[in-house]
Symmetry: C3
Subunit: 153 residues, 3 copies
């Protein structure tokens, strides 16, 4: 099954890639690797979540935010592949930063929402290495930022 068919089956619509909020580019292709800039939970052109996990943001909302980051990563990967997501060989790494209170320790459970999306879309090719850490502040006040490294053919 093509990735586009899989996306349709999952009811996932890939949005227009989010433009960087600063003087950089959303992705760079170097050899077979695509480095994707940190993506934040923007949907429909608007920041969908702000705040700190463990304070004003629940774990469940943070998971939804992580999922939106993953969808925005997909949008950038699609652009990097000239629109053809079947060119993805492997999601190599996700780097997840969770804006949280000091006592929060479930960064992996939050990042899982992004990881699950990658596996549901790409199957074994979506199984990636990952780091997930807490931070005390993120751009635009969002609860989650995720960057990625992807191998394409």
């Amino acid at each position: 099954m093509s990735i586009d068919a899989k996306l349709k089956e999952l009811g996932l619509e890939i949005p227009t890639p989010v433009a960087p909020v600063a003087n950089y580019v959303p992705y760079v292709i170097s050899g077979n690797l695509v480095s994707i800039s940190g993506q934040v939970p923007i949907a429909g052109g608007k920041v969908a979540f702000t705040g700190k996990v463990g304070d004003t943001v629940t774990k469940e909302d943070a998971q939804e935010a992580a999922r939106l980051c993953a969808i925005n990563i997909l949008a950038q990967v699609k652009a990097a592949c000239g629109g053809n997501l079947d060119r993805v060989v492997r999601i190599v790494k996700l780097g997840a930063f969770i804006n949280c209170v000091d006592g929060f320790t479930e960064q992996p459970q939050v990042a899982n929402a992004a990881s699950d999306l990658m596996v549901s879309v790409f199957g074994d090719k979506g199984r990636h290495s990952r780091s997930a850490v807490g931070v005390n502040a993120l751009p635009l006040g969002v609860p989650v930022e995720i960057d990625a490294l992807v191998e394409i053919d």
Copy 2:
């Protein structure tokens, strides 16, 4: 001297690789590069250290935690190499996240314990680039998380 002989000389036993605590994989091989997921100070299947450096965790304990992270990275690298650590060409990068109080500034000294281990095991091949930063929270409440990029043949 083979790396296995070196490990024996150092009295270092490589543990069974730690399974990810979430839906991802501990390493991904892309070309000659291995991306290793963030490793935490787990030993014998148990979290060996929790807490924040500068608060309940001393710098010395954090260094021991960093060393355990490095040992767990070695375990993943060994698995990625099909058991043969002589296939390591270069430890390319360590990314160290230190869970600490705001005023703590010795992240490099903590991360050194991991860096020293790599150099003691691999010699010049173990000399890596590195980032070491403080964070306010980490998975499972551990004081240190380290991910890695490794070149193998």
Copy 3:
């Protein structure tokens, strides 16, 4: 125009590369990729800025600190290229860590000072992917640390 000529036009002098403050190396070359260790705002052998953005450090000072990090990255890239910056094919990624108070959300605006420098020196080859996150503490108490991935020929 050569990069050296461009640097001269910009009035930018590339300093002697900053030595690591710990047991690692400032860069590792793996294939065509150079991984640059996290650079801090050191100038003339001295730490130029310390403190937290939003507390004792203004956004403007943090931007100057980010620019110094970028200049120190350039110094390492130059060393990695054997002195010839024309060998740079692409600045692939900058990873920016901003030491800030919880409420600070302008990490991109701070990191922009580093991004702008790369583009002013390398033109389109300097346009990179990026992550920019807040953290609660950094080595030596500096407000900004930036690492990099660079493709060379």
